[in-house]
Symmetry: C2
DNA sequence: TGATTAGTATATCAATATGATATATTTAGG
DNA sequence: CCTAAATATATCATATTGATATACTAATCA
């Protein structure tokens, strides 16, 4: 599933502009999938060419013109077809963990600080999610919010209990380097 | 931190060819960071140009020539400098979760099957990790293996306990569509 | 009042990365 | 004997990011 397909998915929830689709990615899909304007606008153009969405232009007086996109019947069909496929593997990249791989080359204080910041960041994410999740969520929304909370909390707990392993390697590494 | 930097990091652990660096990504960094030949070979060329690694060619009789890369002093310095920076945010993309967002559009049987497969996949990852982690690990290696196990297990537990939420939306969505 | 920041809305572009493919040979397994 | 996996290089179209440009409004703040 590429960003083009996911734009189509977002449009199943209602008409939207490119700008609004970007906001949806940030608000509802922050946990799951990221997309920048550089991929959203070209996607929308291509989907229009392919007849999977239609576009009407709304000129506003005190704003730039809006292009409002609507999914077509063909678009709905194409989306369902793609989404029924076996999903590809997750793609995950963590500079934080990559850095920790080299804990033995870094000062213990740097490692400690990075872990502190990571824990603070995960806590922020959890509390942001409490705000971001709707008050009367659908079952799926409830599932997604709980998923994020659970995974982030598991990470926090693990970091607290096991950070000493990294901090030990950072200290040992330094000593070995002397 | 980009792939170029991480190649440098891998070379701090010893000389290697592009092929061996790719294997290191697969074996030691599978959890954390991915890289394909299409990014590794160009990285190595650029690092050589910049004088951060040196390269000696070893012609083998019954194999393609090897290009063995060694990190230089300048390379070690450049790596440490980059790795001391505040790590950028994780990048995560999950087609699995993106699909579940649209559970209400899909047959409940499809959703159930996807969840079953996901659980099986995470279990496979956990057991692969038991094999992949060295017998006498360093503290950092122990930390990384434990990290993966913990996060995957948290996901499995969450899925088992909350899959009914998605399965409910899938059933309701279908009914609403009729 | 005046200045600065955030919000609405479009779009492009260089740089980066993926995933597939090509080439060529050896070794291991069934 | 044949096939698949392993060793080793490399390229390329396509996808994606992150930054930047443009242009106007609304809100905040000193």
């Amino acid at each position: 599933m590429d960003i083009r397909t996911l734009c189509l998915g977002i449009l199943t929830m209602g008409d939207a502009t490119g700008y609004e689709i970007k906001k949806t990615f940030e608000e509802k899909l922050d946990l799951i999938f990221h997309a920048s304007y550089g991929s959203i606008y070209p996607s929308l153009n291509k989907l229009t060419e392919e007849g999977l969405v239609s576009c009407r232009e709304l000129s506003q007086e005190k704003r730039p013109d809006k292009k409002i996109y609507t999914i077509t019947a063909a678009g709905r069909y194409a989306f369902l077809e793609k989404v029924m496929n076996k999903p590809a593997a997750d793609r995950f990249r963590s500079e934080f963990l990559a850095t920790l791989m080299f804990a033995h080359l870094l000062p213990a204080s740097t490692i400690s600080q990075m872990i502190d910041e990571r824990i603070a960041d995960r806590e922020r994410k959890i509390s942001d999610m409490a705000t971001g999740c709707p008050e009367r969520p659908t079952d799926t929304e409830q599932f997604m919010c709980g998923y994020g909370r659970t995974v982030y909390q598991a990470e926090i707990d693990y970091l607290i209990e096991n950070r000493h392993l990294l901090e030990a390697d950072a200290l040992l590494g330094r000593r070995a380097a002397e």
